[in-house]
Amino acid sequence: MQRRKDELRERIEVLPEEVKKTGADPFEIDVVSILSELREDYDKLEGEELVKDAKAINSVSKIVHMQDRWLSDKLKSLGVSQERLKERFYSLDLQVLASCLYSSQHFPAAIRHVSTSRLKIAADYWISLTGWGRSRKLGAIPNIAEEKLESLNLQSDNIERELNEVRLELLSKLSKSSIPYEDYLSKKEGKERVRLAYIISLLCASGEVTVRFDPSISKHLLVLGDGNPDSSVAIAI
């Protein structure tokens, strides 16, 4: 009796290979009756017999897996008609079609790591953004020797006054059309020109005005800002 059961387990063990080799229908194998036969003497098994039983069970699970694959292959080979598929596309709205994709999408798992040196560079950059550009306020005037500021007439009182004048004039002009940056600066010379460029940079930093490059005329244009401050503004003189 036990000898027969041993042989049965050995035969079950090689079943998946045989099905694969012959291309037989895996549903021809009666999995339920095999399992009930294996269960009959399971309690009496010992040592090597238990190993054989485990191998047989493993093969049965492979057969079940093959049955699953066989079904999906059949579904594919039966050929879902293109017309039927198109009908489904047209009857389902985009949201439902998207949810079909989501329900079959398995995202890749990956851990991205940032090196310490890159983190430091990022932190330095972030800190550098907290002054100009991050705040809608104009911020403090850079720490330059007082004499130099005096020679350029860049003291805060003068700048505030001039800033308001230029701001009103520029915003009124820009509300009609953009102005080439160079043309706007060309009305001033020397120190005055530097001061005007500096004031424009302050307006850009406040988000009221911005500079855009127009490739069609190869010129930088002053345009009305969208309220988002430019994080850095180069002064071109």
Partner: protein, 180 residues
């Protein structure tokens, strides 16, 4: 070498392989077979079941994607993916809703057509649901992201779809989903 120490060594290698697969070094996820060979040794394929078992504990599955014309396992891509679909859109995803829908249409059409379909035919279907300019924009984006491959005017399933999308599940969902 004793059996215990050999088994420990195998476990250690499997752990190393799992970590290597998880760490993204390139713009693409996972790694190539030859990279695993370099890290784990010549017999790295024998370690795959152990790596799979460890990945399973984390709710992940190892996908091995070979090139259509090149079945060499050393050149195949090994990627860990989530065992179950991630249905919460907040968790991840590169695609907007209409892009995901277009990908569903393109992939299921390509799949049922036996692996490739002309770009024009797919665009024609998409244009029934979206403006023409948007359909073309989406197809270009899907090609750029690797979800679809273009070859002489014909579209095929791309490497990213082979990894991420279960085409049988997709087709079943499209055929069985009820319209809202």
């Amino acid at each position: 070498m004793s059996e215990d120490s050999e088994s420990e060594e195998l476990k250690e290698k499997a752990r190393k392989g799992l970590v290597y697969l998880l760490m993204q070094r390139h713009s693409h996820p996972g790694c190539k077979g030859w990279e695993l060979k370099r890290i784990l040794g010549r017999n790295y394929q024998k370690l795959i079941p152990l790596i799979e078992a460890k990945a399973d504990e984390l709710g992940l599955v190892l996908r091995v994607v070979t090139d259509e014309d090149d079945q060499d396992i050393d050149r195949a891509r090994f990627v860990l993916v989530s065992k179950y679909p991630v249905l919460d859109r907040e968790v991840g995803g590169w695609l907007r809703m209409e892009e995901a829908a277009s990908l569903a249409i393109a992939l299921s059409t390509i799949y049922t057509k036996g692996g490739s379909e002309s770009k024009e035919a797919i665009l024609e279907i998409l244009k029934e649901k979206l403006p023409a300019w948007r359909s073309e924009q989406i197809i270009s984006k899907l090609i750029r992201l690797g979800y679809i491959e273009e070859d002489s005017g014909y579209l095929k399933v791309g490497w990213r779809s082979k990894i991420e999308i279960d085409l049988n599940e997709l087709l079943t969902a499209i055929l069985t989903k009820r319209p809202d």
